[in-house]
């Protein structure tokens, strides 16, 4: 009989049993922590109607969708867990209790350019808290506690949960008359760690931002010090824009309440350069970084159990 070469598509992860055991241990740690905070489980189909899944999509996302027809039906594979959650909450609104806290761990699909370390099929582990009409800001302070618990459980010590508030950035741009350029400016300053300050200034100039506005932006992203210093310095900028002021207030409130959840000071900080690429976020934003290579080596031993 003619044999077919057994192979797996590139961008799709397939593990040997020992690796899969480890992978599952990490997945279970994440899931158990989500449960520990009372999040409810959710599983949605991998395949959805394109019309439903792509109600919002556009641009880059749309290009990456796995989309096909089965008979007459136009179908797509989910590319994140947020859109299926949106559909689910809208569809089941009357049967859910709010605030609705759900976790979902599942595979999502994006037809990215294949390169090393890029996956076309990958697991996302999401939690969201959804309010009906409103959702108190203190929820923004609880999520870092979930992140902290997970990475602690996984054996890491030196990691930092970075916080910012999009209103601060949006308010600043409004104050500087750069509202139209906001998305573009955010994209540029988001890269400061990668390309450095000079390159950021250059890109802002290319965008046509005035000298005074650039100076203010740079002054802003160079705010240094500990968490409380940074908040004080934001206030000291004496920006009177309402959105900016609201953003600083929110950030201060979230920081105060993060401390109630007993997250050590060295595991979180305010990082004013974090914007998150998506224009979707309107308030608090988070990113988490593992800091120290050597520190990471220590957690090897945790996995030998």
């Amino acid at each position: 009989m003619q044999k077919t070469e057994p192979r797996t598509l590139s961008g799709f992860m397939e593990l040997l049993p020992n690796e899969q055991i480890l992978f599952n241990q990490i997945k279970e740690t994440i899931e158990n922590t989500y449960k520990k905070f009372g999040f409810l489980p959710l599983d949605t189909p991998v395949i959805e109607l394109s019309e439903v899944l792509l109600a919002k999509a556009g641009g880059e996302t749309e290009k990456q969708i796995y989309r096909f027809n089965k008979g007459e039906t136009d179908l797509s594979l989910r590319f994140d867990l947020t859109v299926p959650l949106s559909k689910y909450v809208a569809k089941n609104y009357g049967n859910l209790s709010f605030p609705f806290r759900r976790y979902q761990i599942g595979k999502v699909y994006r037809g990215e350019r294949t390169q090393k370390g890029r996956f076309r099929e990958f697991y996302q582990c999401d939690i969201d808290v959804i309010g009906d009409g409103e959702l108190d800001l203190i929820n923004d302070a609880e999520l870092p506690s979930v992140i902290y618990t997970i990475f602690k459980q996984l054996g890491f010590n030196d990691f930092t949960i970075c916080l910012n508030n999009r209103k601060i950035l949006n308010g600043l741009f409004e104050e500087l008359g750069q509202k139209e350029n906001a998305v573009e400016i955010l994209r540029i300053i988001d890269k400061i760690d990668k390309i450095g300050k000079e390159a950021v200034i250059e890109e802002l100039q290319k965008l046509g931002v005035e000298e005074t506005a650039i100076n203010k932006i740079v002054e802003f992203i160079e705010i240094e010090g500990n968490t409380d210093d940074k908040i004080q310095k934001l206030k000291d900028l004496k920006i009177e824009n309402e959105i900016f002021i609201k953003g600083v207030e929110e950030l201060e409130f979230v920081v105060k309440n993060i401390r109630l959840f007993e997250i050590p000071e060295n595991n979180f900080k305010v990082d004013l350069t974090i914007a998150r690429g998506l224009d979707y976020y309107t308030g608090t934003v988070y990113e988490t970084f593992l800091n120290d290579y050597r520190e990471l080596r220590k957690c090897l031993f945790r996995w030998k159990i």
Binding site: M13, F23, S86
Partner: protein, 145 residues
């Protein structure tokens, strides 16, 4: 590779309206996401985690008898007690069976042969220390792994 190239391992934030494309209801929310596949890949690539556990089973039962009724009964007892138990269900030489346990690093092996069945005992071998001991059938329930 520097740790910077790791990127964020958990991101998210607050949004004003979750489901505006599906409903008029205003649904604000806050959420985070961990990209597990990428996290695992990076940790593995940087040798920061080690996939050292090769088996799920706590114990491998090696039957040395034709009639498998007693080995199966013992496995069922252990499983009912929450012990992850595998029976070697393939007719091979004892040496090959031990090799299997060794390769998968299964921590304990239970040997059940004619002698053991006659005396109502099993032989329990600790694969790490090499230590062996005999245990009465009716005390198997008390075994902890």
């Amino acid at each position: 590779m520097t740790i910077e190239s790791f990127g964020s391992v958990c991101s998210g934030g607050r949004y004003e309206n979750l489901a505006e494309y599906y409903t008029d209801k205003k649904l604000p929310g806050v959420g985070i996401s961990i990209g597990l596949t990428r996290l695992f890949y990076k940790l593995n690539e940087l040798n920061l985690i080690k996939a050292s556990k090769k088996s799920i089973a706590d114990v491998l039962i090696i039957p040395m008898v034709e009639d498998l009724s007693i080995p199966i009964k013992i496995a069922t007892k252990l499983r009912n007690n929450g012990v992850k138990t595998e029976i070697y269900l393939n007719n091979k030489k004892l040496k090959a069976k031990f090799k299997y346990a060794d390769k998968l690093e299964i921590p304990y092996v239970i040997i059940i042969g004619e002698n053991e069945i006659e005396s109502n005992k099993i032989k329990l071998k600790d694969m790490i220390t090499g230590e062996e001991r005999e245990i009465d059938f009716d005390r198997i329930e008390n075994l902890k792994f």
